[in-house]
């Protein structure tokens, strides 16, 4: 065994060091012949005869040399090297073909690798936590009252954790954090930052170790503890220049000194997993005892014990949840976490929560990009087929000179592999660029996008599809070649012979399948595009354009609630009046929550004096706003807006949306009626048109608006509507705010339109990609059509010449060629339409307001494909009509 290993090693060495070994062998063989000649001379032969006899006994010198080389080296690789050199030479000679082929392959392979990386990151790969399959998302079944019904109170959390037996541990984070909720001071201008409060065991449960410093201690999650913070890696680099000494020192957050206890690892991005499309700069410990009196604020995450399944966790929850209390001091709040159908909880894996919604879209995307690769293969098969047709004589010649058929097919496959290899390298570069760009897009709300890389898996995938592609597109021409008859080929003059026609039929079939595939892609893209346009057309209930929001810092501390409300009213009125006076500002107002962001519900308001069946009413989403907000958002109001005079001691007032009003007082005007809400009688002063508060595509649901002077807001977002681009006012608005409050951080204006964009960004992302693929498919299909028709015209030059000589007009020739094109295209379209009907049913759930059989889309597809086909056919048709009969007949 050892001896054979040794031989293998020597073979490899011999492969790489041919020259000295060859010299050695030549010297040895020369000596051999000389010795033989010497001996023959000694026997008395003439010098000539002696040499001749020596040569005869030796056998062929070249054969001996090759035999020795094969014995000592790696003959397989030598042949491969020959094939490679030969292929590179032939491809180099045909630079046009090579460039087109490599570019097409690069697009196809690059698109596939990029989509693979997206799918792999979001869908396939486990979440970036140890034993992430044990992590689950714990939430009540979906309801209409937004985030408030998707979260738990502090008491409910503790009870759940204590009584459930399925979990190693349960943790949670504050669901109601908003962007720029913190203010970093003491380092030049106040800077906004985004922080999330998490329970003390959050990092430990996920299995995240801080890169520097330590996690929170139990003491730091108790009331009265010194505040501490863990910085996210990007924020640490940006704000503190990656200074490791920051750990252990103090920073000022919202005017209070806070100790930095650590820096999170680069691999942990809170936003990427839990709130796609947003950044989180730091995490702070959530002190449960501070939150007992608040409502449902916690989003729960559990780590199941090993061996426990999600079904078991759900069964466990069904016994625990009915006993949970919103607050254990109030027994009447017990049992409220079970919905009216008796369903208590939907435990799902964290992975499902993060990426489950995207599964169908991603699979559709993957199919689309796979179709592109198929089209690329068909297209290249076609190109190679045309080439082999042109090269059939060369192959016949080589076969006649002794090349085996296997060797020729191998040569063709080598050629295919080289082309797809070059395409893969270029495509990889292209995919790298796309992935790099995508992973730096903050505005696309897809989870884990920031963690996307071209990694080892993507590289393996590239190799795999490159080889698969090469085999697919190299095989057809290879087999055609192998099945051909050499004598026929050598005799075949290229025009009108049987083999040539067979060839053409095969190419026509390929083009038809290409058109059919492109057709499916176009229908898919068309349906998604129609859905997207429908989504963009939705009346959101507000006008995103020309509006922007900025987070405002204020101080309404006062001895009691009423004084605080009065103080707040004064501050907000001052700010609104100041900002409205700025040139370019049309309207301004405050809200605490913006639509399409976080949301919450408080209790169930009831119209006074009316009774509704149990479960008919639910909690509307709550917004606490100032006068002017409705106008600044461009919402439509019936009745009156809040006034600054709606203070803490005057009549309580509310506004509700049209959907809620319709249920509260069906068929009647709600304005002026009394709603029992938030523990008091409120006069409904206005009804606003429905706002898409929770999602763009979903049902608007119910909303209720309270004035900031009567109800404490959680935050203050200043919304302004401008007649000039909002960004140009950022400076003057900030200046005005700073004059009133020097602590105002340098928050940036966030255009409201950008929030809408973010909400529709996943749909936009998929439409854009599928649309791009469809365009690519269309281009490739038209190239295919052009190739086949142009080749056909070239082959029929003589025939066309004869027909023209016999009196066929130019128009007639042109129509003939265009007719052929049309037949190809129509057969392809027919096949594609049937396939599309089947495929589009599969993506029905991805569509919005569009039927999978949407006639518009199909008609548009047919028109588009036919037009493109005719354009592709027109160029060769024009060439055919310009054939000069004399020249055509004389050639050959």
């Amino acid at each position: 065994m050892r001896d054979y290993l040794r031989q293998g090693w020597h073979r490899v060495r011999a492969f790489f060091g041919k020259a000295p070994l060859d010299e050695d062998l030549d010297a040895e063989m020369a000596a051999h012949l000389e010795m033989a000649v010497d001996e023959n001379l000694k026997r008395g032969m003439t010098p000539d005869e002696a040499r001749r006899q020596a040569m005869v006994r030796f056998g062929g010198v070249q054969q001996a040399r090759e035999k020795q080389r094969a014995a000592r080296g790696l003959p397989f690789l030598d042949v491969l090297g020959q094939d490679l050199r030969y292929t590179l030479r032939t491809l180099g000679r045909d630079a046009g073909f090579t460039t087109v082929a490599v570019l097409i392959l690069a697009l196809g392979i690059g698109a596939n690798v990029a989509v693979f990386s997206v799918v792999n990151t979001i869908l396939v790969r486990p979440l970036p936590f140890p034993q992430s399959q044990q992590l689950v998302w714990i939430a009540p079944p979906p309801t209409k009252c937004g985030l408030s019904c998707a979260t738990y109170s502090a008491d409910a959390y503790e009870e759940f954790k204590a009584q459930s037996r399925s979990y190693e541990d349960v943790t949670g984070y504050m669901a109601f954090s908003s962007p720029d909720n913190l203010r970093l001071t003491g380092r030049g201008e106040p800077q906004p930052a985004t922080g999330i409060e998490v329970l003390g065991n959050f990092l430990q449960l996920l299995g995240v170790q801080p890169a520097l410093g330590r996690s929170f201690t139990a003491a730091e999650t108790r009331q009265g503890a010194h505040p501490v913070v863990l910085l996210a890696d990007p924020y640490w680099r940006r704000q503190f220049a990656a200074d490791p000494k920051i750990v252990g020192s103090e920073i000022d957050l919202n005017g209070k000194p806070v100790t930095v206890v650590g820096v999170l690892p680069r691999s942990f991005d809170f936003g990427a997993v839990f709130s796609p499309g947003s950044k989180v700069d730091m995490i702070t410990p959530l002190i449960l005892d501070d939150e007992r009196m608040w409502g449902n604020i916690l989003t729960l995450i559990g780590r199941m014990k090993p061996g426990v399944t999600v079904a078991q966790a759900n069964a466990d929850a069904a016994t625990v949840v009915p006993h949970l209390c919103w607050n254990i001091k109030y027994p009447d709040t017990c049992g409220q976490y079970v919905n009216k159908h008796g369903v208590s909880m939907g435990v799902q894996t964290l992975k499902d929560y993060v990426s489950g919604r995207l599964r169908r879209s991603l699979i559709a995307l993957w199919c689309a990009v796979g179709t592109i690769l198929l089209i690329v293969c068909v297209n290249l098969s076609n190109l190679l087929l045309a080439r082999t047709a042109a090269r059939s004589k060369e192959f016949a010649m080589r076969a006649a000179l002794g090349a085996g058929r296997g060797r020729l097919v191998r040569q063709l496959l080598t050629e295919a592999l080289i082309l797809s290899g070059a395409g893969a390298v270029l495509g990889l570069g292209f995919a790298y660029g796309v992935i790099f760009w995508l992973s730096h897009q903050q505005s696309i709300a897809l989870p884990l996008l920031g963690t996307m890389r071209i990694d080892g898996e993507a590289l393996s995938w590239t190799v795999l599809i490159a080889v698969m592609t090469a085999v697919l597109f190299g095989l057809v021409p290879g087999l055609r070649m192998a099945s051909g008859n050499l004598h026929e080929t050598l005799k075949d003059s290229g025009a009108g012979s049987g083999a040539g026609r067979r060839h053409e039929r095969l190419r026509a079939v390929l083009v038809i399948s290409e058109v059919a595939l492109a057709c499916v892609l176009l229908v898919g893209a068309g349906l998604l595009l129609r859905s997207f346009l429908k989504v963009m057309d939705i009346d959101l209930g507000f006008q995103p354009e020309q509006a922007a929001s900025m987070r405002v810092d204020y101080d309404d501390r006062a001895p009691d609630g009423n004084a605080s409300a009065v103080k707040r009213g004064v501050i907000f009125q001052q700010i609104v009046e100041r900002v409205r006076a700025l040139p370019g500002v049309e309207a301004a107002g405050f809200t605490d929550y913006l639509p399409l962001g976080r949301n919450r519900a408080w209790g169930t308001p009831t119209p006074k004096g009316k009774t509704f069946p149990e479960g008919a009413l639910h909690g509307p989403l709550v917004y606490v706003i100032s006068p002017g907000y409705i106008g600044a958002m461009g919402m439509r109001l019936h009745g009156r807006d809040f006034a600054w005079s709606d203070g803490p001691t005057s009549q309580k007032v509310v506004m509700i949306n049209a959907s809620a009003a319709q249920v509260y007082w069906p068929g009647q005007d709600a304005v002026g009626r009394i709603l029992q809400a938030n523990g008091g009688d409120c006069v409904v002063v206005g009804v606003v048109d429905d706002v898409h508060a929770d999602s763009v595509e979903g049902d608007p649901g119910w909303q209720i608006y309270y004035p900031m002077m009567q109800q404490g807001p959680s935050d203050a977002e200043l919304v302004i509507r401008t007649s000039v681009p909002p960004a140009s006012l950022a400076g003057s608005v900030l200046h005005a705010l700073r004059e009133l409050n020097p602590n105002q951080p340098a928050a940036e204006f966030r255009p409201i339109a950008q929030m809408v964009d973010r909400a529709v960004s996943p749909r936009k992302f998929f439409v854009l990609l599928v649309g791009l693929f469809a365009a690519l498919g269309l281009t490739l299909a038209s190239l295919g059509i052009y190739g086949v028709i142009a080749y056909g015209v070239t082959r029929q030059t003589q025939e066309i010449g004869i027909r023209m000589a016999l009196g066929a007009s130019r128009g007639r020739v042109q129509r003939g060629v265009l007719g052929q094109t049309l037949v190809l295209a129509l057969v392809g379209i027919a096949a594609g339409t049937v396939t599309s009907f089947v495929v589009s049913k599969e993506i029905a759930s991805l569509l919005f307001g569009t039927q999978p059989t949407d006639p518009m889309t199909y008609v548009a597809m047919v028109v588009l494909l036919t037009t493109v086909a005719l354009v592709a056919g027109y160029l060769p048709a024009r060439r055919a009509s310009r054939i000069n009969p004399l020249v055509a007949l004389r050639s050959q």
Binding site: D3, R11, E28, A31, H32, M35, D38, R57, F58, A64
Partner: protein, 113 residues
């Protein structure tokens, strides 16, 4: 070369070369080829050139060594010698061949009955 000569079976040439080197000691390629021809009574169909593929194979396996030297009639030639491991291999292969030959002989004897 007539039809009457024996075609060499795969691997037999390697064995012949080993045996020749074991019997003759250090020898060059031409010497080995001639020796095989003489010993076989010119019954083997051997293109002398093919011996070099065998020699390089044996050398790579470490069964023979090679060194450039000067021949009797003052020519520069590469001399081969069998190694310890080569002798071991030779013993194994020779035993195998003899057993095979004996068995073949018995089988063929019987079929002639």
């Amino acid at each position: 070369m007539g039809d009457s000569k024996l075609d060499l079976l795969q691997g037999t040439l390697d064995l012949m070369v080993l045996q020749t080197l074991a019997a003759m000691g250090e020898q060059h390629g031409y010497g080995i080829a001639r020796r095989i021809e003489q010993v076989s009574g010119d019954e083997v169909l051997l293109n002398q050139g093919t011996i070099y593929a065998s020699l390089v194979r044996l050398q790579q396996r470490g069964w023979i060594d090679a060194e450039w030297g000067v021949s009797d009639n003052n020519r520069k030639a590469k001399f081969y010698s069998i190694t310890k491991r080569g002798r071991k291999q030779l013993a194994e292969d020779a035993a195998y061949w003899q057993r095979l030959a004996a068995v073949m002989g018995r089988v063929l004897e019987q079929s002639r009955e």
